[in-house]
Symmetry: C2
Subunit: 459 residues, 2 copies
């Protein structure tokens, strides 16, 4: 009998139909986003309570079975990919908002709550949760990848918005981290250690996250530029001069073409910034004026903005659909998203190099991203049956990472290491720092059972 | 020959006069702030380069000698207290600003740079570093205690303002953490693990920290209230309604009395908020109007504000001197500062309980603090020869911690655990979470040589 079969004996009785072993059921949990080959989990568990998670983890450890935590599988670097002989733990059913405390600008959620469901729940409070990856991801997944999105330039990433967690450790122990206070100097910062750990240290079963007031005025719109460089220079100067923009997204002409076709927009195929400003009516007007002054020197067209929330929703829906829009450019295509983030002063150079490298390789790839953070994505649009294209994409990706690291940037701004960036992690931090991460991993997960094969290269 | 004597043989030759063994020299490094008994280090090392730190750490590990990192010793919980048989490592001589990169809103410093020296160095750039504990502490010490100060309500604490570190591990290995990018999802968040670790995991030899633009307009002043509750309610509503105040400090009547006497102010002895607003001229006016509307319902007097930077400097100098001012209330007194931080909605109740408990115990103790963060301090003013007073202070402190923990707060908002809060850490996070912290400690510092006796209770 295999380890997994032994675990099944214990857990099937406990979870019933929520211990899924038949192929049709398991096939729904392949975490198939992104360019990594998606594996079929050998078994999928669907716990509903903290106690069930604790029991599962203790039993898995007892049986020596590996565990892969799973939100809704939208991560892009194979972060939640199935592992042979392991149990994938689908947390999407633990999706209750446990508490909203508007008076403390926070809420407490189970890990399977999605960002859209949370904001729906918050609607009546005048508060919102700002982190918005393009997919409707779970909070547990977003915490685990240290996700961000279009609002991070003003509101920070998951790193800045998680106050505390409850985590089940590999042996089934439940621990709290952090507190409900805005700051604390009490001991090691376990909250930030688990945030971004991609399910390799423990399973997050509860999170306390910060909320923000819905701004009095929201002004949003698009801004066309003569050239890519002018658009990026405008972003750089905006950040440098401290204009508190809420969103500042770049779409290059190829990205605009993709979005026009996919979302029915009619934007000119030129480098374009999608901008949003938050504040009082007076302050958003002030910010707009500051932006226009900056753009004027950089070949900006008219900054067309609107206060209409419905128009704004359409705009951001189109932006969020950029990845599927890219994929739709070619029949049966796969997209491969890079995730470079550089210090803001290096952004123009980074994006110019990216465009040149993509074109030199003859690849189809919109470039876009959360440029206010210095974070941009190249979406390679590839056919599965084009090995030469894949090899070229791989080479361009490595080249862009090398440039980013040479200027103090990072190989991943928000997608995490997963399977795809394991070698890059070593290049970025060096062998000694990664060895230290491994020592921490071994101290918390001595059996190496939490999401194996992610973050660290097999030896 | 003792371990320390063996280490001395190696290091004295290397560091010369910077390996201090004579008593008069060592006596200058007793880290005697706060209420903890200050010990005399057995030896003090003063490395000047990263290589010297690496050599020292490797040699100390080889000799089995413990190491106590030391900034300027202003921490308040005995965090940097000397340890028998250990070497205290004075880092105040590693005090170069290595790089200022205004275009990326960051700078790179050695650990011994003080906050005032850094801001002096930044003067010409239009940027500043906002974190300002009352003492002129070092960046290395501030990172290690996860310090904050009056500006944290708007600019965050050290947690939000450190982008990356270079750390020498107990075996002498040098590792980098973080990057110069604003965000990264690359591997475990070692930056935040070392931030707040109080010298128990490694020695920070370099830090990359965020800078902020000096605001166009700064409006600051004092605001008197009829009662403590009205002042605190005003703070609570201000935070809840998202007014982006830069500083919002409370001084109760006893604190005002102390500051009047010490700093030559003439403020009425009533609960008073010290407030500062940052933004455009228009926006600070807007913020002020919002504040006045909030205060009106809570017994506020006139909000007296000024744009004059010199007047503002006097104001904040007086606020920063609150601790010595309290000490000066009684001849030969010692102050003991508590450091509770609660969710903002619980602040009024927390402070009311603190005042009642202090008065019931018949103690002299100003109450003040960074109330915009939910963080307040009780400064017990005690004579060394008053054991009954000390015992009462201890009891009140425990009582206030218990209340804070019962509402999801923390026993320390910014001073750290040091020696004084080790039992409270266990009450706050529970034995299992603290056991996990110990496992991390053992993984990084297997010999237990980094700042022993801090954060964790001896077993
Ligand atoms: C169209 C599209 C657009 C995107 N845009 C963005 C973007 O703008 N910004 C961005 O940051 N990302 C973006 N992503 C990537 C993705 O949405 C994020 O990585 C997201 O955080 C994944 O959440 P998930 O719920 O799908 O998690 P999963 O993919 O299921 O899991 C992600 C990781 O978290 C771990 N995990 C999940 N839940 C838990 C838990 N409870 N405890 C412990 N570990 C757990 C998994 O093991 C895995 O390592 C996009 C993806 C798509 C498809
Ligand atoms: C009058 C007064 C007012 C204060 N007000 C505030 C306040 O408003 N906010 C606040 O947060 N604090 C405040 N403090 C406390 C104190 O200033 C902070 O704790 C500060 O962070 C200590 O810095 P330091 O350089 O003195 O460090 P030290 O006291 O020398 O050391 C502090 C800790 O950091 C470790 N350490 C120091 N340098 C390094 C390094 N390079 N690598 C690794 N570990 C290191 C030490 O081992 C120790 O554990 C105040 C103190 C005083 C006396």
């Amino acid at each position: 009998m295999t380890d997994l079969a032994r675990l099944s004996e214990t857990m099937a009785g406990r979870l019933g139909a929520r211990w899924i072993t038949h192929e049709a059921g398991r096939a729904q949990f392949m975490a198939a986003e992104g360019h990594h080959a998606a594996g079929l989990p050998d078994v999928v568990a669907q716990p509903r309570t903290v106690e069930e998670v604790q029991m599962l983890m203790a039993a898995a450890q007892g049986a020596g079975v590996a565990v892969v935590p799973l939100g809704v599988g939208t991560s892009l670097e194979g972060n939640a990919g199935a592992v042979a002989g392991a149990v994938s733990v689908d947390l999407s059913g633990m999706n209750r908002v446990l508490e909203v405390a508007p008076e403390d600008l926070l809420c407490v959620v189970e890990p399977g709550v999605t960002r859209e469901a949370l904001n729906e729940e918050l609607r009546a409070t005048g508060l919102f949760f700002p982190i918005d990856p393009g997919a409707n991801a779970t909070l547990g997944g977003m915490i685990s990848t240290r996700a961000s999105g279009t609002n991070a330039v003003r509101y920070g990433t998951m790193r800045e918005n998680v106050l505390g967690l409850k985590v089940v450790l590999p042996d089934g122990t439940l621990i709290p981290t952090g507190s409900r206070a805005r700051k604390s100097a009490a001991g090691y910062d376990l909250t930030h250690l688990f945030t971004g750990s991609e399910g390799t240290l423990g399973l997050i079963v509860e999170a306390t996250v910060r909320l923000h007031g819905i701004p009095e005025a929201v002004l949003a719109g698009t801004w066309r530029f003569d050239g890519l460089d002018g658009a990026v220079q405008t972003v750089i100067e905006t950040i440098q001069s401290g204009v508190p923009v809420a969103r500042m997204e770049l779409l290059d002409p190829v990205a605009i073409r993709a979005c026009n076709a996919f979302a029915g927009l009619t934007l000119a195929e030129q480098p374009t910034l999608f901008v949003e400003l938050h504040g009082s009516p007076q302050s958003v007007r002030e910010q707009r004026t500051q932006l226009e002054a900056i753009g004027a020197g950089h070949g900006a067209g008219v900054l067309t903005m609107s206060l209409d929330r419905d128009e704004q929703r359409l705009l951001w829906r189109a932006r969020h659909a950029a990845l599927p829009a890219a994929r739709a450019m070619v029949a049966d295509a796969v997209t491969w998203s890079t995730d470079i983030c550089v210090p803001i002063s290096k952004l123009a150079e980074a994006i110019a190099r990216a465009r040149a490298a993509v074109d030199a390789a003859g690849l189809l790839a919109p470039i876009l991203g959360h440029v206010g953070d210095g974070n941009y994505h190249v979406f390679f649009v590839l056919r599965r049956d084009d090995p030469v294209g894949w090899e070229k994409a791989r080479a361009v990706n490595e080249q862009l990472i090398d440039y980013a690291l040479s200027v103090g940037g990072t190989c991943t701004g928000e997608h995490g290491i997963g399977m795809g960036k394991r070698a890059a992690l070593v290049r970025e931090h060096g062998a000694e720092a990664v060895a230290l991460m491994r020592r921490i991993k071994a101290a918390i997960d001595p059996g190496g059972l939490m999401n194996p094969g992610k973050i660290f290269l097999e030896r």
